[in-house]
Symmetry: C2
Subunit: 244 residues, 2 copies
Amino acid sequence: MPPFDLSRTRDTSTEEIHPCSACAARSLSVCAALEPEELRRLADLTQTVRYESGHTLFGEGDAADALYNVTAGTVKLYKLLPDGRRQITGFLMTGDFLGLALNESYAYSAETVTDTSLCRFPRRKMEALLDEFPRMQRRLFSMASNELAAAQDQMLMLGRKSAREKICSFLLMLSQRAVRRGFKENPVTVPMSRADIADYLGLTTETVSRTFTQLKTERVITLLEGGKVRLNDMDALHDLAEGA
Amino acid sequence: MPPFDLSRTRDTSTEEIHPCSACAARSLSVCAALEPEELRRLADLTQTVRYESGHTLFGEGDAADALYNVTAGTVKLYKLLPDGRRQITGFLMTGDFLGLALNESYAYSAETVTDTSLCRFPRRKMEALLDEFPRMQRRLFSMASNELAAAQDQMLMLGRKSAREKICSFLLMLSQRAVRRGFKENPVTVPMSRADIADYLGLTTETVSRTFTQLKTERVITLLEGGKVRLNDMDALHDLAEGA
DNA sequence: GGGCCGCGTTGACGTGGATCAAAGTGCCAC
DNA sequence: GTGGCACTTTGATCCACGTCAACGCGGCCC
């Protein structure tokens, strides 16, 4: 799709001397709470990669030969039905980890939503490291637990919430994740397209668009330029997200 | 709800001398592939418990003080919205493990669907054991990975499949799980109520009922007594489950 | 027995969100 | 500038599934 790949030619050698400790949100990433020795060993096998938006990291069924930690940008994970229907199972942002399901092949596809940089860990070496350092494995396990909890929340959303509740939940999630990454600013950045949002929420682009304008009309949110959304009343939004 | 609790008074001392190794589907359970020493230590902290159908094991937000391995029966996990809407996030059957998300409190509720027996592992002791035996932790991690993959499948189902596709997917899942537990018989046992199925698939009981009779009319399935369902054409069912 | 209750089925009807269609907007190439 | 393209918005219509309501059936208690 993209005519050429700018990202690959960019010189990153000066910006990331020690790739893993450069993970922007270290407290969130796999590097969190590791001993210096563990961190050094992890850095040894780390490759940093950069892709522009729309790049496919891997597809469902591909051999799972690497794990990633997102250090900048947004990545979407999705599954497809044979006829092309798509369900986005999650968006990964700075600090998020990709490839927790340590199976032989990926159970989903991953594609960049924006220009993205990642730390890449070859799987074999990573597994060896996990065997050596149980603390790291424990860390990954705890991350998997959190993902499991998030997956359950999303099931509740997909199965039982209305379109309006889904959109409000989605905006709140973006807001909360921004806060956790240390960005407290209220106008939330929504880097993904309407189609991506629709496929994440189990809706169509038309419904997503309509619901946004509806919420805008009711002054619950304000749509700003650059894909930003101001949440005018967090409490109201929270109620709207759960049908209270 | 139940007038009295038969199960608690039943004498299990003779049937399960070594509780963990008695896990019916050991190859599936947490005990799988453990060394004798690990197994013995695990057995030391195992309690076996039995509950009749409709018993609440724990509720969302309760302090997470135990993990369980289902040894017989069926358990449902669910989350609720403030107004009572419910999403069942999974059914656990013989061999399945409960409480993988090792957080301070449970993120969901768990309730027995049928009479159920379980191995109960106090959380603190279990964590200590995991620290001692990284192999066990690895085993749990791998189970969590599988759950994550299952959760993604369910998201795809909830977000993108029609009622008919959901029902077919559901029946196929029951069938596959029965096979994995060693029961090859085709008439699948469906132990849960229409309401439970509906809350699992993001539908209403009426739609579930109608879809069943519709599939019955088309000779895709046959409804048998005792909550059993014969799948008349597995290939057709597989196609129906994915809109092929 | 009779009444009640929980569960499942069926029917009639309503509606939220999908579908189909078209127009608006911004961006890039030329 | 003009054209093309991808994305978004808006409108009109449709329909799959929800809602509301009635009824059937089996189990259990009195």
